[in-house]
Amino acid sequence: MIRLVDICRTYDLGGNPVRALVDVTEEIASGEHLAIMGPSGSGKSTLLHVLGCLDRPDAGRYELDGRDVSALDDDALSLLRRHTIGFVFQSFHLVPRLTARENVELPMVFAGVPAAERRERAMAKLRAVGLEPRASHRPDQLSGGERQRVALARATVLEPKLLLADEPTGNLDGASGRHVLEILSRMNADGLTLVVVTHDPAVARRARRLIVLRDGHVVFRGSGEQIHEAVELLSTGDGEGDAAPAPGRP
């Protein structure tokens, strides 16, 4: 489904180049569940943004569904984001003035789905994440876990093939976090390709596959069961590693 070849992303910080991704080569199969770990600043979010076509790599090749993404123009990229990719963020990013249902409807608005159908499909998605009764609540009337479930419903309402989650449980307590993870696992079991960035070994463990980034390099590849090796690697880093659950930058 996804093929990354020698992807590089360098930020220019006042003349100092910051190499957020260095020659990342990775394949992600359709229906896979991949966890990305790594210390803060190692390039996890940058990689996720590249995968989600929100950011363009400076070098390397990115194929999504057999298409060379770097050749696409802005309009084609927004179509890709709309129909093929879903995003979930640590801080939910719900539109505060819209109700839960209206938030879920947003991608369908951009896709030109008629209003009646939009409403129906949004309600179905909210039902799937257990939030149907909260459909007309605004985000400030919802708990963190509920907000993230609304975000999940929104990310998947147009039935994308790929779901990208950046610290989806980073702002949640244990129970809410587990609820969100269960929904994610269920969606993955239904065929959704899932890429989760996390600091939390308990989250990473659920993944079938696991990679660890450091300074923009992939320094570890393994299965979810090899989480202990990954954690060890992170804690024996050059003092920068933190495998502890999410100190979390917003």
Binding site: L79, R82, H93, V109, F110, L158
Partner: protein, 400 residues
């Protein structure tokens, strides 16, 4: 994304910032209301003047001695034009087809006295036809008698104000007043008429034209007033009069103007004034546009995260542009509607205060003011909306 979706989204965004939305909306409505009110005033002035002309008689053709100089000097002044004689006037009255009534006019200033009361007024020498040509009416007695123009008579018709001044509470009819050295019998008093094209028709003494010419020692008429039989014959009457008098004088040395020409001159001057007022008021609309731009720029920078999110959810550039432009246009057109309401209300108040002024905004001003209010949002919304579309979604989402 349908137009309804765009508007709905923009509307909800604006509802989240009621105060600043209301303030920038108010800016636009003041601009629109100013356009409506000021153009209504200009239009009111125009209509007022046109109504004045209509009261004088819209089929009027005026003949004056002297040629209208290309230098723009008033005809009849400067130089020594050949006389426009009573015989000329008679020839025109009899010989030009389409002339319904003709009235000669000589004007001078003289003191009119009755006993110890005296008053310096305009003395108009004319004929019986004056009554109809200048739309006068007689309150008491009668107007100048129907008699040949070249025959004078020691009679006078007083304007209502002059009569009231000379004969307070007394009967003027039959009394003899002195005009200069002349003793004249009062045969009539005109009904109040008010200012008519710069001449107070209530403060005049009207005498037979031949008498006035003797009184002021004139050989030439000041004007010859013609009333055409119908409005659409004005031009032929004008041409025939000019031709006849040119033949009589051997050269074209008179000026013939139709009421229409004067009217259209006033019309275009006052129309231009109205447009200028509208233009000045429109400047305030542009200022309101700057206000909208400012509010929208603030809104874009406050909502960078939201914009980043919309992009992550697959909003295209055009959709983001449309959403933010719609907000600006929504503010400005709502301001336009409110401004129209305010403007019309202000005009109502004006009309209530000055009933004589038929103030009413011209249709073009109403349409232009509203269209401009919409355009103001579209124009001044472009910069903020483009800023929104250019935001890097990653930076916007991260809020770095």
């Amino acid at each position: 994304m349908t137009a309804g979706d765009v508007v709905g989204f923009a509307f909800r965004a604006l509802r989240g910032h009621r105060l600043r939305t209301a303030l920038s909306l108010l800016g636009v409505s003041i601009g629109v209301a100013a356009v409506i009110t000021l153009t209504a005033l200009g239009e009111g002035a125009r209509r007022y003047v046109l109504a004045q002309f209509a009261a004088v008689g819209s089929n009027m053709v005026v003949v004056l001695p002297g040629r209208a100089e290309t230098t723009g000097a008033m005809p009849g002044f400067g130089g020594t034009p050949r006389d426009l004689t009573l015989d000329d006037a008679l020839a025109v009255a009899r010989g030009v087809p389409g002339v319904d009534k003709a009235a000669p006019l000589v004007i001078g200033t003289e003191t009119v006295a009755f006993g110890a009361r005296r008053r310096q007024v305009a003395v108009a020498g004319s004929s019986h036809e004056m009554l109809e040509v200048r739309r006068l009416s007689v309150a008491r007695g009668r107007f100048l008698p129907e008699q040949p123009w070249d025959r004078g008579a020691p009679v006078v018709v007083l304007g209502s104000k002059l009569a009231a001044e000379l004969f307070p509470g007394a009967e003027p009819l039959g009394q003899v007043v002195r005009i200069g050295d002349w003793r004249m019998r009062v045969i009539g008093v005109t009904a109040p008429r008010g200012q008519q094209l710069g001449m107070d028709m209530d403060d005049v003494a009207i005498v037979p034209v031949a008498t006035a010419m003797q009184m002021f020692d004139r050989s030439s008429l000041f004007r010859l007033l013609l009333q055409a039989r119908s409005h659409h014959r004005l031009d032929t009457v004008k041409a025939a009069t000019l031709k006849l008098l040119s033949e009589r004088h051997g050269e074209e040395d008179v000026t013939v103007i139709t009421q229409d020409a004067v009217l259209s001159a006033f019309d275009s001057i006052l129309g231009a004034l109205t447009r200028a007022l509208g233009g000045l008021a429109a400047i305030s609309l542009a200022v309101a546009g700057v206000g909208i731009m400012n509010v929208m720029l603030v809104s874009v920078s406050e909502r960078t995260r939201e914009i980043g999110l919309l992009k992550a959810l697959g909003a295209g550039r055009r959709q983001v542009l449309a959403a933010f432009l719609a907000e600006a246009v929504l503010i400005s057109s709502a301001g336009g509607v409110l401004g129209l309401a305010l403007g019309f209300a202000a005009v109502q108040v004006l009309v209530a205060i000055f009933p004589a002024l038929p103030a009413s905004p011209p249709a073009w001003a109403v349409a232009a003011a509203f269209l401009m209010s919409v355009a103001v949002g579209a124009v001044f919304g472009v910069v903020p909306a483009r800023r929104a579309t250019r935001l890097d979604p990653v930076a916007a989402l991260g809020g770095r």
